[in-house]
Subunit: 400 residues, 2 copies
Amino acid sequence: MMEQTGAFDPVPKEEILRRIDELKRRMTEGQIDFAVIFQNVDRFYFTGTMQKGMVVIPLNGEPIVFVEKDIERAGEECPLATTPIKSDKEIKDILEEKGVLQGVAGFEFDVLPVSLFERLRKVTGVHRYADASACIKEVRAVKSAFELDQMRKSADILGLVFEKARQIMREGAREIDIDAELTAEGRKLGHQGFLRMRGLNQEMMTITVTSGLTAAMICCADVPIGGAGVTPALPQGSSLKRIGKDVPVLIDYGGGYNGYITDETRAFVTGKLDDVFRKPYEAAREIIADMLNHAKAGMDCTELFVRSHRIAKSAGLEDNFMGYGKGKVAFIGHGLGLEINELPVITGKHHRVLKEGMVFAFEPKFILPGLGAIGMEIDVMVTTSGVERLTSDPIDLIYF
Amino acid sequence: MMEQTGAFDPVPKEEILRRIDELKRRMTEGQIDFAVIFQNVDRFYFTGTMQKGMVVIPLNGEPIVFVEKDIERAGEECPLATTPIKSDKEIKDILEEKGVLQGVAGFEFDVLPVSLFERLRKVTGVHRYADASACIKEVRAVKSAFELDQMRKSADILGLVFEKARQIMREGAREIDIDAELTAEGRKLGHQGFLRMRGLNQEMMTITVTSGLTAAMICCADVPIGGAGVTPALPQGSSLKRIGKDVPVLIDYGGGYNGYITDETRAFVTGKLDDVFRKPYEAAREIIADMLNHAKAGMDCTELFVRSHRIAKSAGLEDNFMGYGKGKVAFIGHGLGLEINELPVITGKHHRVLKEGMVFAFEPKFILPGLGAIGMEIDVMVTTSGVERLTSDPIDLIYF
């Protein structure tokens, strides 16, 4: 059935085992005796399946992959043994029988709602608990060769969508027209359907097209450019505004292949780029070039941010860098993987050392209040000698 | 700016005040002295804006609408006074100054993650607390005239998308091809971009196209028909399967206008409908007709479910009704509004009386394992004398 309905790479068993070992190492450091994993993305990461259920990973012993439904699908996708259950009420007895309920349980406190946590505590019979979310996020921050391959396939979709954008961009089209056409193009290329962002209220559009003014609007989300959206009830993304001459049109698109998300931005213009955008455009180019020349495993993320900030400042564009006024964000890059807000965050605020296998989006953007914005965004993977882009197209301003 | 970027109806002030009054009535019953509302949809519901911040609604006194960003946009959208803050660390002092921190605080425990709750407790200085989510969900279950108007506009998008489906359905197309084209059509009609579903792991595609077998696959989500999806990392929605002859193709689409979601399903076929689907199709039609004839304010939802179940049973289709085996779900309908899983749930399991202004999707569907599925889904609003459909097109099987 699967070959008929999808085309994807299953997560290899040795990969799953490596991830679990790495989690156990972090759990030991965090004094957690067993992890109770409920969120769908985390479960997929540690088991290869997202079928309904729960996973318990004890420090000493095999992981227990509880599956409510569909057990057959889970069996095809997950290389570990699965434990079918009719309801979560069976979980406690099974855990007790296996002697798992000793010590401190780790839960995903960053995503697990209070009432669901209370329920899970009851169905697992847990008494002592701690937050396991940092452990999980640290493990997920470093991508394996398998994951990098998935991310490249996600970037392939993204690259083809930007290629299509070059063909369909037109003056007078509304932002949502371009949005609709490119989203459809991506979906036909096998895009998974939507992008995931971790945490309550964290919502992400697959694509955001902004043109001039709409790129300069302050967004409720923690992004430098979020778009106006079409309603206060979903106040981000493309709007009904028509694309005009001489101002930058930004397309921020996310690929999605086998769960893995890529996230890049290209700038387009028709006519002549208004002079006011020229200097910020050159500064964004310079920041990208500087990052590509300097970033590598072992570097502290704050150093990357500080270098970028310095370039923006010497161009006299400090106020416009990564937002203006209340719209300013504190980062220039963010980790990517199964979710769009993974580690590392490239910010001046928190120290974190880049490691081989980390993947991040890097997005120098300048916002000119009342006028628009310009900049670009590329995804890179970290190696010991530098970084490698996930896409290969030029990031120059595209004239249409 | 707004008229250029979006086309929507702002939430009227008297509407907001009525919602807050209704919440206060429920809070009194639930012995909650002030509600702390953080989730974006709930905030939008009680303030008209989704800009970043938090809302505190005391039983005695005016609501305090804290806004981090964008305060100007919030001011345009929210008819109440707003309180600008630079960070949530200012909240406690303001609440103390206003004398709000007396008694029991109500939080959204059904969606608020544990670590975020701990943070909110700290920034608000709350000591005693309770779960306010039931209060909020009960208020939101009954739609006002304004909301029904938004839902009709959402249904208009949906109706036009199904009209387009009649034109583009074709043998040999992949499910995702139809998905992509119809999603694009909806977006160009002003669709908000995605559909919201309340709770962790609750994910919803804007559209799901299933053809034959893929409609019969058991889905990890709590839906009778979820589709195969294109990857185990997002195991629902349309797949790469090609549309064939003589088996039903189901299109389940959600409109989205100004936050309000509609959710309907139509069945299509090319060639001749395989005889095995004929009886279930007729039974689904009969169940719809029965519901339209009998549902009205004052009726218990369990009665609606039991009536439907009885029709399925007398057709000899009890085993196939609303899923087969482990794929069976316990409901035939669900409330709709700003989220796709609102109250009421039309199930045999929990009593709930239909009230004037409730809106629900009603979806008799029959799953034939290894073959496919057939059925339909319509949205209705409850009146004192019956129910009214939100769309007006015929729900007969559509030949293409």
